[in-house]
């Protein structure tokens, strides 16, 4: 049945979460629901994170889980960075490559298909390793952070923008496999991210909370789910959309309660 909306891809929520996430976030449906801003705060947050990480003309930046390359293009265009993006979604990498060529940024950006837990790039080859709203979905976070540390030159910077969660305090409906794909169920607290980075030999030098941006994003998704529901006839899909609206509302309440949030973290290698 066509509702006029892009269809959500079939997701294997019990399978590998990274693949599931890559498929979801490269889909038209997810992009529509998120209004093209795939992480809280969109370009504002990305530029702020880059500023905290000291990205400047010529800085070599690796964007881990780059999606369709929006941030890599932004950093290349606005800040003159040399950006490489890695993503597990093959379609996303194709789109990113095409978009960079169209934007005349092919000489300063490159996109590679690959896994964040085994980055397809050499040791000590970047100044900054950046990852937005992705670490929260990676099953082996220690390994992903260690990989980012590996590809940095000595003294390099890891820049993380991510959902924060106090998991023990979250209601059960926000701790499901679907909630993991929605960046919630496997997120960490701010302190846990700092520990994770320390485990990879990086000391956190800047922390900036952006919780209001997360609320704004949840609001956008909730509103778009609700108008999409208006076109769906009564039945299973409509019920699932109602459930998704309820989840968004539960998440919003947890942000208000301080149990969910969004944070920018910058850490340095010695």
């Amino acid at each position: 049945m066509s509702t006029g909306f892009p269809e959500l891809p079939a997701l294997d929520l019990d399978g590998d979460p990274k693949t599931c996430c890559a498929r979801l976030y490269e889909s038209e449906a997810a992009r529509w629901l998120l209004d093209g801003e795939l992480h809280p705060g969109g370009k504002r947050s990305t530029l702020r994170l880059a500023e905290l990480a000291g990205v400047a003309p010529g800085t070599r930046v690796l964007d881990v889980a780059c999606g369709t390359g929006t941030s890599a293009r932004l950093l290349a265009r606005e800040l003159g960075a040399e950006a490489v993006g890695v993503d597990l979604g093959e379609r996303a990498i194709e789109q990113a490559t095409r978009a960079a060529a169209t934007a005349g940024l092919a000489d300063r950006t490159r996109f590679v298909h690959g896994d964040a837990e085994a980055l397809p790039v050499g040791d000590a080859s970047f100044d900054v390793a950046l990852s937005e709203c992705s670490l929260c979905t990676f099953p082996d976070k220690e390994r992903a952070v260690a990989e980012m540390a590996r590809v940095l030159r000595p003294g390099g910077t890891i820049a993380i923008a991510d959902v924060t969660a106090t998991l023990a305090a979250l209601p059960a409906e926000l701790r499901t496999a679907a909630a993991r794909v929605a960046c919630v169920a496997d997120a960490r607290s701010e302190d846990e991210y700092v520990q994770l980075l320390r485990g990879a030999g990086c000391e956190t030098v800047a922390v900036e909370r952006r919780d209001a941006e997360l609320t704004a994003m949840i609001d956008r998704v909730e509103a778009r789910l609700r108008v999409a529901r208006m076109l769906v006839p009564a039945g299973e899909l409509r019920d699932r959309m109602r459930e998704a609206v309820a989840l968004a509302r539960a998440a919003r309440a947890e942000v208000a309660r301080g149990m969910l949030g969004y944070v920018l973290l910058v850490a340095r290698q010695p």
Partner: protein
């Protein structure tokens, strides 16, 4: 006029007791904004101007630079508000013109800023068709292509030539022609709604709630059945209706949610205009320090319909002073209601101070038209503009029809002698058109003595009944 951004802010006002023009100040206390002045004869007076100081600051960037009308009718002589209008110092053209065609009414409401009634008043007037035509011509001369006019009173529907007057407004190409009515004639005269439909009139129906106590306090009679009958006749005839609810502290604040809910479900209704009661003309006793402003009305709507509305869904309308009017549009499908500002970042389009690139000029123009004092829900123009916005935010075509039927909710706080803020008045875009061709900003008309002057002039003229 530079937008105001901070409190305290200097302005001028009048003494509510004697009308003397005085220096005045807006200041913040307990998170709210009060207007204070000191009359040499009557001492200091103060009134609540806006119920939330943070929101007051937040809406100031929505103060769109005013546009000039083609013609100004008066010269600057004594200074605002004594030279209306429109005088060269006025900072905005007229979005909505109002013509009060009579003072006679078929009700004697305890609340009536126009002091109309069933005939026991010693004075009053009823304009001729020729007078109304010349007033419409004056409006067209001033505006070129006026967007909206409302015929009011008194009770305009009892004027024997009201249909000719409405048709005269339509004949001048004014897209939105409204009839402000209590609905009694619509309910009783089966031919009236179809006649309005033929002309293309939008009905602005007084509709204050459902409780007996509300009706008795504001209208002096239980009118629930009449309102329902009027609305059903409008629905049958295909006449679009905006409900206009006068809201008074302690009377019907608790009914605002039910009014919206009733409106979205009634096939004739395209919007609700909430108006905190203006304490001018006839009104019950009130506390100027605890009156209702748009803020309290919006909060009540949000508290009573928490699944549908939040305070930030209401956008400060930029054409008038941004504290005058806040509005939203909502998509409704019989089950759920989603305010349009959740789907489009209105702030990026209507913030006139922060220098940001507008993402889409067509969407910007559509939003500019939607968030204007000349807009009403359900009209062709509103539908086109809503469709444009829906398209701009990537809604699929099937949903654009839902969007085009977008339900409008407005909070509109008019000023009285207690709240008159001259700086705000200079940006007023709702004008009373009077028979000598002047366009007098609505709140000056009600608060600064013009209503009394015009009524006295017309009552002594040959046109009086």
């Amino acid at each position: 006029m530079a937008p105001r951004g901070t409190l305290p802010a200097a302005t001028r006002s009048i003494c509510p007791h004697c009308g003397t023009l005085l220096d005045a100040e807006l200041h913040e206390r307990d998170g709210r904004v009060f207007l204070r002045r000191d009359c040499p004869e009557h001492g200091p007076t103060e009134a609540l101007a806006y119920g939330d100081a943070d929101r007051w600051r937040a809406v100031q960037p929505y103060d769109k630079p005013g546009a000039s009308p083609l013609l100004r009718q008066t010269a600057t002589d004594q200074g605002c508000p004594s030279d209306c209008g429109i005088c060269p110092e006025h900072a905005q053209h007229t979005c909505l013109g109002i013509i009060e065609v009579n003072t006679g009414c078929n009700l004697d409401c305890p609340v009536c800023f126009a002091e109309s009634g069933t005939g026991h008043q010693p004075d009053g007037f009823s304009l001729s068709l020729a007078q109304v035509e010349s007033m419409l011509d004056a409006f067209v001369a001033a505006e070129g292509a006026p967007e909206a006019v409302q015929l009011s009173g008194g009770e305009p529907s009892i004027h024997p030539q009201i249909l000719e007057m409405l048709a005269a407004a339509k004949a001048r190409g004014i897209p939105l022609v409204m009839l402000n009515t209590n609905g009694i004639r619509l309910a009783r005269d089966a031919r009236f709604a179809p006649a309005l439909a033929d002309i293309g009139v939008h009905v602005y129906l007084q509709f204050d709630g459902f409780d007996d106590a509300t009706h008795l306090a504001i209208r002096g009679r239980r009118l629930q059945e009449i309102k329902r009958a009027a609305l059903d006749r409008c629905a049958a005839a295909g006449v679009g209706v905006s409900l206009a609810a006068a809201i008074e502290r302690g009377v019907n604040e608790h009914e605002v949610g039910a009014i919206v809910r009733f409106g979205v479900e009634h096939p004739a209704v395209n919007g609700v205009f909430f108006q905190p009661v203006t304490h001018t003309g006839r009104h019950p006793a009130f506390d100027p320090l605890d009156r209702l402003t748009n803020v309290e009305v919006i909060r009540a709507v949000c508290q009573q319909l928490p699944d549908w509305f939040r305070e930030d869904d209401f956008v400060a309308v930029p054409c008038c002073s941004p504290t005058c009017r806040s509005a939203t549009y909502a998509l409704y499908d019989g089950e759920d209601l989603v305010p349009l500002p959740r789907l489009v970042d209105v702030d990026r389009y209507l913030d006139f101070v922060t220098n940001r690139a507008v993402p889409d000029l067509e969407v910007a123009a559509a939003l500019d038209g939607l968030f204007s004092a000349s807009a009403a829900g359900g009209t062709e123009r509103t539908a086109e503009r809503l469709e444009c916005v829906a398209c701009g935010v990537g809604l699929p075509a099937e949903l654009r029809d839902v969007a085009a039927r977008g339900f409008m909710v407005v909070a509109q706080d008019f000023q009285d002698a207690w709240t008159l803020d001259v700086e705000k008045l200079r940006k007023c875009c709702v004008s009373e058109i009077v028979p000598d061709g002047r366009l007098i900003p609505f709140c000056a008309y009600n608060a600064a003595g013009y209503r009394e002057q015009v009524r006295a002039d017309l009552s002594s003229s040959a046109a009086a009944p």
